[in-house]
């Protein structure tokens, strides 16, 4: 089956520095693929690049983005407007901030549908019901302030999906929500991906969210993919020291309380501090001269599982 979305060698620069440096991944229809990493790893910029919504100071310096086989990197703004919301959509972290406060939520979903008003109301009502909004006949005429955060996120998902896009980019969609509401939204996204065949690119910092919903995961660090593979494999057998340390740094419900958590010394480097070699070099227990000099290529270690590390074999 051909990919809904295929990104190859994506490079995004601020100033003269590639803050996203050669990102490549693909997502199949109905698949949930997670981009996970800490602040500054480039995951949100990558998401914005997928919809060509990059801030002015960011320039794309390389790579291609194929949406259902069509390269959208060179498209004019007019063509892009026809694609956004119809073939690729996005939902954001703060649903209340992303919705227009002065417009009823039903009207906002309808606007995204592109349908004429007669047929539209019924289509919007059905879509609101599909994303789990109880009493859609009443909710359709309400304003965002009358809805809770979780319900606003459902409205955003409804407006993102009503035109049946091939790809949904979800940028930290549950980060602003409480855990019990987060669980509801993750269940909803999982169900919609399966039922509608939507490919979902999930941007998150939360390894728990990845474990819950993603079939594959790309772990990003300082603008590069450190490791990418099936979620189960990456979690059970990380092949990059950054992933391994990150997983060990998370307190879990099954751990010994007050035990010492693994620590990644130091903090994420600023783009101005990026060297010639591996960008994790300053914090890595395996770092040697070659790591400083040469960036490690992303190589397949197991089937479908790739890691960018000169010392993968040391992770038993």
């Amino acid at each position: 089956m051909s990919a809904a979305l295929e990104v190859s060698d994506l490079r995004l620069a601020i100033g003269g520095v590639n803050v996203v440096d050669g990102i490549a991944f693909s997502v199949a229809p109905g698949e949930v693929m997670a981009l996970v990493g800490e602040s500054g790893c480039g995951k949100s910029l990558t998401a914005q690049a997928l919809l060509r919504l990059l801030p002015r100071q960011v320039r794309q310096t390389g790579g291609r983005i194929l949406l259902e086989g069509e390269d959208i990197t060179a498209l004019a703004e007019r063509r892009l407007r026809q694609i956004r919301g119809r073939r690729i959509s996005m939902i954001f972290q703060e649903p209340q901030a992303a919705l227009d406060p002065l417009s009823p939520v039903g009207a906002q979903v309808r606007e995204a549908s592109g349908l004429a008003s007669a047929a539209a109301r019924e289509a919007v009502r059905r879509m609101l019901a599909e994303v789990g909004i109880a009493d859609p006949d009443r909710r359709i005429d309400q304003y965002p302030f009358e809805l809770s955060g979780g319900m606003c996120q459902r409205v955003m998902i409804a407006s993102a999906l009503i035109s049946r896009p091939a790809v949904l980019v979800a940028d930290e969609p549950t980060t602003a929500l409480d855990v019990t509401i987060q669980a509801q939204i993750l269940d909803l996204l999982r169900r919609l991906a399966a039922e509608r065949g939507t490919a979902i690119v999930l941007i998150t910092h939360d390894m728990g969210v990845v474990a819950d919903i993603a079939e594959r995961v790309a772990v990003m660090y300082a603008g590069r993919i450190a490791e990418i593979g099936p979620t189960a494999a990456v979690f059970s057998r990380p092949r990059h020291p950054y992933t391994a340390l990150l997983l060990a740094a998370i307190p879990r419900l099954a751990d010994e309380p007050k035990s010492r958590l693994a620590v990644i010394e130091g903090s994420v480097p600023q783009p101005s501090e990026y060297g010639a070699g591996c960008r994790f070099v300053g914090r890595c227990p395996f770092a040697d001269a070659r790591c400083n000099a040469e960036p490690p290529p992303l190589l397949e270690t197991d089937e479908g599982h790739f890691s960018a590390c000169w010392h993968t074999e040391r992770l038993a």
């Binding site: 800490e38 602040s39 109880a134 809770s148 979780g150 319900m151 409480d178 855990v179 019990t180 509401i181 987060q182 669980a183 509801q184 993750l186 269940d187 910092h205 939360d206 390894m207 728990g208 969210v209 990845v210 474990a211 819950d212 979620t231 189960a232 979690f235 059970s236 340390l245 990150l246 997983l247 740094a249 998370i250 307190p251 879990r252 419900l253 099954a254 751990d255 309380p257 007050k258 010492r260 958590l261 693994a262 620590v263 990644i264 903090s267 994420v268």
Partner: protein, 321 residues
């Protein structure tokens, strides 16, 4: 021995311009002893932040009492309040907004000692250097400004300042929620070290149940202004008695795909009701999978079940762990 912190029947209502008051905290009782860390957990709007604000006198309680080291906070005159605030120090969520950008971190950490006349000159510098070392920074950092530090380092600075007066009680309000995973681990490790080296009591307010389990000795769960379960850590996590506690634990996504996907789902229907119009009877009954008619009518009383204190009519029917 008297507890360092005693919260007894605390009620905080905020008047609304229209309609009934917001019942942010509605009768909360707990204590924290020396050398003990109590976790206070719950979702947004449950009242956990208001409880911590009431403890240091940042909001006026509508009813009930808070005592810090035996001193009642309510009705305290300025001098007593000053003394209470020396004994109870706070660490907030966002270290960037907790530090004055125009003040060197040495001056910030030394200020509590200076304004209370506890140290000055060379002694003050030595105390600041010792505090910096204690939180994993270096004495020469004292002359730098907050913007020269990363988020994790800034939280260390805030912790050093909170420790300066050797408080009896440390209040941590979402202290690691703004931090990245790798940095969060550093701060949690520091926190566990400080628990061992200091005798202070600690109230750890957080929405993150895995973090709370990692650092706390006992845990209190809040919902809609009410405390619904209070138990020693292991009892709470292995035998949660309240259906809300169970739902909360089930909703935490575990960073382990096999475990997470095998986990039975206990989805909570609907949303948290408005604290301006809390449900009659048990406040949780509108979302509770176990609710019966009795729950809609009568507020459940606090009951002891083994080591756990719980407010649920059906707490005995806890499914086996």
């Amino acid at each position: 021995m008297n507890p360092v912190l005693a919260v007894d029947g605390l009620v905080v209502h905020f008047p609304a311009r229209h309609g009934p008051p917001v019942r942010a905290v509605d009768g909360v009782t707990f204590t924290v002893a020396e050398r003990e860390t109590l976790g206070l957990v719950g979702e947004s709007g449950c009242g956990k932040t208001t409880v911590s604000n009431a403890i240091v006198g940042l909001v006026q309680p509508t009813g009930g009492e808070v005592r810090v080291a035996g001193m009642p906070v309510r009705g305290a005159d300025r001098r007593t309040l000053r003394e209470i605030r020396a004994k109870a120090q706070i660490v907030f969520q966002d270290p960037a907004t907790s530090l004055n950008p125009r003040m060197t971190i040495g001056a910030a950490i030394g200020e509590p000692l200076l304004v209370r006349g506890l140290a000055r000159g060379r002694e003050l510098r030595e105390r600041v250097a010792a505090l910096l070392t204690e939180v994993g920074l270096r004495p020469e950092h004292a002359s730098r400004y907050p913007h020269q530090f990363s988020g994790g380092q800034r939280q260390r600075i805030v912790i050093a300042r909170a420790l300066a007066l050797r408080p009896a009680l440390l209040l941590c309000v979402e202290p690691v929620s703004a931090l990245d995973v790798s940095v969060r681990a550093q701060i949690l490790n520091l926190f566990v070290e400080l628990q061992q080296s200091h005798a202070m009591a600690c109230l750890f307010v957080s929405h993150d149940l895995a973090v709370v389990r990692h650092v706390c000795d006992r845990v209190a769960v809040m919902y809609l202004g009410h405390l619904i379960e209070l138990a020693p850590r292991d009892a709470l996590y292995t035998t949660p008695r309240h259906p809300y506690t169970r739902a909360l634990l089930a909703a935490v996504p575990e960073p382990d795909p096999a475990l997470q996907r095998a986990k039975p789902r206990v989805p909570l229907q609907g949303e948290i009701p408005s604290p301006a119009a809390p449900p009659q009877g048990c406040v949780f009954h509108t979302r509770c999978p176990m609710a019966i008619a009795h729950c809609r009518e009568e507020v459940p009383a606090w009951r002891h079940l083994g080591e756990t204190i719980v407010a649920c009519h059906r707490a005995e029917e806890t499914p086996a762990p």
